[in-house]
């Protein structure tokens, strides 16, 4: 039920534009043509056939990118029939790509995009190797239309819950991952022997070992969810040993070893409003995102509650309250995740040639007082409607008109 307007030329005029790739520009125009950004600046000529969106007094930013969640993969948390993010029965689920589980008709999608989140990482859950995460735009009638990149990376559950799939010890977890990685490389070298059943039994299914090869060749990131400092260090160790392109996620005690993370050149996905201590991270604190950013780590933010992915901007605002600069926080929900997910050539900033995911806000996007005025995804304006706006309209007056 996505009412796309036809592709067209749109000019967003008069707003303060935050391109993210450069400093803000007052009273600027963002010109959009055929789904792409055509021009950004103060002296952009607006074609006469362009549809104009007056953004005078408004703030214009790239659409926000949430680096977490199960958008389209979980409709109702407690209803198993609507959950697609967990593969049961295979603890090394490297070949499990969640894309075909996505439901483009999910009612969560409109609820999310009308509040300025236009792109999200859809992440597999559970197991030791959870599967392949994919990046989607929150518009489109088919999975193919929604996909931005698939896969983005393979998810490793390097945490207290992950060790349950490796015999119950962190030591076993790391060693199990090592064996799987070695077996994948062995499998690659001796595919022919494998086919003739002349290869010893491997520690994961062939399809999963095959799926790990792009990660082991550094072509695709390993996204390691790790919170305890020692778990983060295990992930860094694995990355060194196998020359992986590593992305850390969670990293709740990451602030304690920010220097090591910077030195390793590893970016981090952080949920700023995490601070409830568990034995997986007793050193968890609100300042994590700010301290990592200050140390020079590339940080992208997450709102892990799929149904409230729209609260990504509240996460960002709180990241600022606890130490990030405002510019860092805006980058952490736009260009930084685009870079981390390997799509910065197309996403994350307002620059000519990029996909036109654009949001017009009444003011500072992180403030509660601010509302969303316009959302464009791939250059098309999205109607600001959702199941929730329909419920509100129905019950605006009582009794409701059924």
């Amino acid at each position: 039920m996505i009412a796309f307007l036809l592709a067209q030329t749109i000019a967003i005029t008069g707003g303060t534009v935050y391109p993210v790739s450069g400093p803000k520009i007052a009273n600027a125009t963002v010109l959009i043509r055929d789904g792409k950004i055509a021009a950004v600046g103060t002296s952009v000529a607006v074609p006469s056939d362009a549809t104009r969106i007056d953004a005078t007094g408004k703030w214009v930013t790239p659409g926000l990118i949430d680096g977490a969640g199960q958008m389209g993969l979980v409709e109702i948390g407690a209803v198993a029939g609507t959950r697609e993010a967990l593969l049961k029965g295979d603890t090394i689920a490297a070949s499990f790509n969640v894309a075909e589980g996505i439901n483009p008709a999910s009612v969560v999608i409109p609820v999310t995009r009308i509040e300025g989140v236009t792109t999200v990482l859809a992440v597999p859950a559970g197991n030791l190797v959870s599967g392949q995460a994919v990046l989607i735009d929150l518009a489109g009638n088919t999975i193919e239309e929604m996909l931005v990149k698939s896969p983005v990376g393979i998810v490793l559950n390097d945490s207290e819950t992950g060790k349950d799939f490796a015999g119950g010890s962190r030591a076993a977890l790391v060693e199990r991952v090592r064996r799987v990685f070695r077996d994948a490389l062995e499998y690659e070298r001796r595919r022919a022997d494998f086919g003739r059943a002349q290869l010893r039994s491997l520690s994961a299914a062939a399809a999963d070992l095959e799926a790990l090869l792009p990660v082991l060749h550094g072509q695709e990131p390993l996204i390691a969810y790790a919170n305890r400092r020692s778990d983060i260090e295990s992930a860094l160790r694995l990355a060194r040993e196998f020359k992986l392109k590593l992305v850390l996620a969670g990293a709740q005690e990451g602030w304690q070893i920010a220097g090591e993370i910077v030195q390793a050149g590893v970016p981090v996905l952080v949920e700023p409003l995490d601070n409830i201590p568990s034995y997986d991270a007793l050193g968890i604190r609100y300042e994590n995102a700010g301290l990592l950013a200050k140390a020079g780590v590339k940080v992208a933010l997450m709102e892990t509650d799929t149904h409230n992915s729209r609260n990504l901007r509240q996460q960002a605002g709180n990241a600022v309250a606890y130490g990030m600069t405002w510019d860092q926080a805006l980058r952490a929900v736009t260009l930084s995740p685009a870079e981390i997910f390997g799509v910065a050539d197309r996403y994350g900033s307002l620059e000519p040639g990029k996909v036109a995911n654009v949001v017009v806000w009444s003011a500072d996007p992180f403030e509660f007082a601010t509302g969303v005025e316009h959302v464009l995804i791939r250059g098309k304006e999205i109607p600001l409607r959702s199941r929730q706006t329909e419920l509100f309209e129905r019950y605006r007056q009582l009794p409701p008109a059924y």
Binding site: G77, N275, T306, A321, G371, F392
Partner: protein
């Protein structure tokens, strides 16, 4: 110093009182008429104190906060305002306050905002403590669908490291509730959120116990394969059966109280709690999501002659806001939670604003150790969602959602929840507008005691649990930026 606590409790109970708002159902005459048999305001069937509060106000010099924006939660937002409190009570609020006595601490409030201490009507702090292992899972006595006999205070762990985090978010009072596995989950604990060795030292003197009840999916799910209830009609039958028993129990005790001859009736802890609900001394705090179920529960109250104090979660409350307003039942809601189960699918962000507009006493609750740290932000989201939808919500109303209204829901609105002379000095100083995402609590005064100061590590309490963790995190040693 205030009078000893048992005395205070007696006073409030017998004066039918200060802590009991006019709209509360009147306690049964027989309960009050039995002199000397009432040990506390809410345990009239026994003649002994039951786990009485040992709360003592912590000494603190008088405090004058000057030149701040004071949000009173009583109708005013005073720019350039001052507030003076002494011995745990608010003495004066306004733009003109006489020079403070020499022993007063003067706080420069320039650029700051001051609100009443925040109150969370729905918390599981202490009963579902961090670090969240099975060993700290003490919130659901999921062994029987009706466990009115359990009291949350007997699970509450004062060393829960989530407590100082919530204090740093400006919370001064919580209702710690049993979970929602059961139809009737047990008594809540109304607590001052302060560092303490015992739960007794946190118990809010004079508060009305709550009785946690739960509708819908949770009891059905937990008991469906364990003898029931397995349906919503089974849920209703379960509540009704329990209150029918309680009516008989209350009758036997009322009879004996009015004519104490021979042996008293046998005590039954479960029925004692339910009988106190029938007497109006214990407030029903009802976890309930769906509009149609809330309507059934209102009728349940009518069937047995009590008024449900507050529906909790209440994601569909907006659909029956007229019924709630007419019944005088409050609603405790989230700003935006939805979708985690079917009965939560119809949540909308305008819920609180629509309830406010209809005259329902609405408050924003957390039900969450993370959300409790930013109830002000959650209220802000709900307020602005209402404003954007064209519903006239005021800032004063929205601050009441996390102060005066939850105080009412706990029967404490004559004592706390607003910044007015005579009220308890539960006061928060914010770095800026509490409805801004960038603002944080700078100082928290609980009953006049500076329990938290973001700029001073000497006033950043840490639980025993947090000691010895290296490096220190979760509340200690932070400076304001």
């Amino acid at each position: 110093m205030r009078p000893p606590l048992v005395l205070l409790a007696l006073t409030l109970g017998c004066a039918s009182g200060a802590a009991r708002p006019a709209q509360a159902p009147a306690p049964a005459a027989s309960a009050l008429a039995a002199p000397a048999r009432t040990a506390t305001s809410d345990s009239s069937s026994v003649d002994r104190p039951q786990y009485p509060s040992t709360y003592q106000r912590h000494p603190n010099p008088p405090v004058l906060i000057r030149n701040a924006t004071i949000m009173t939660a009583a109708g005013q937002e005073i720019a350039g305002g001052s507030i003076y409190f002494k011995d745990g009570r608010i003495v004066a609020v306004g733009t003109k306050i006489d020079a403070p006595p020499p022993d007063a601490v003067v706080v420069d409030g320039t650029g700051r905002y001051v609100t009443p201490g925040l109150i969370d009507e729905h918390s599981h702090l202490g009963v579902y403590a961090a670090p969240g292992t099975d060993a700290e899972s003490d919130g659901n006595e999921a062994t029987n669908p009706v466990t009115a006999e359990v009291w949350a205070e007997h699970s509450f762990w004062p060393q829960d490291p989530q407590i100082p985090l919530a204090i740093a978010g400006g919370i001064t009072t919580i209702q710690a509730l049993p979970g929602s596995a059961n139809l009737i989950g047990g008594r809540s604990a109304i607590l001052r959120l302060i560092p303490a060795r015992t739960v007794q030292a946190m118990k809010f003197p004079g508060a009305h116990y709550g009785l946690k009840m739960a509708c819908g999916e949770n009891p059905k799910r937990v008991y469906g394969q364990k003898g029931g209830p397995s349906t919503r009609m089974g849920n209703m039958a379960g509540y009704r059966g329990a209150f029918i028993q309680a009516e008989g129990y209350r009758r036997r005790w009322d009879k004996w109280n009015s004519d104490p001859k021979g042996d008293p009736p046998d005590r039954n802890l479960k029925l004692e709690s339910l009988a106190e609900v029938l007497r109006g001394d214990i407030y029903v705090q009802n976890h309930c999501y769906r509009a149609d179920e809330m309507a059934n529960m209102l009728d349940l109250g009518r069937e047995f002659g009590f008024r449900i104090r507050s529906f909790h979660h209440a994601v569909e409350a907006y659909k029956i806001r007229d019924l709630l307003a007419a019944a005088g039942t409050g609603a405790a809601v989230w700003a935006d939670w939805w979708g985690f189960k079917e009965e939560a699918m119809d949540g909308i962000k305008e819920n609180a604003a629509l309830l406010q507009q209809a005259g329902v006493r609405v408050n924003i609750h957390s039900d969450d150790p993370s959300g409790i740290q930013r109830l002000n932000q959650e209220a802000a989201k709900a307020m602005y969602a209402g404003m954007r939808a064209g519903i006239a919500v005021t800032r004063d109303q929205a601050i009441r959602w996390v102060t005066a209204n939850p105080a009412w829901a706990l029967g404490l609105d004559s004592l706390t929840g607003t910044l007015e002379p005579g009220k308890i000095a539960d006061v928060v100083v914010w770095s800026g507008d509490p409805f801004s995402v960038y603002s944080r609590a700078i100082q928290v005064y609980n009953d006049g005691w500076l329990v938290y100061d973001r700029t001073d590590p000497a006033h950043q309490p840490r639980t025993d649990f947090q000691l010895g963790q290296t490096p220190a995190a979760g509340g200690g040693g932070r400076k304001d930026r």
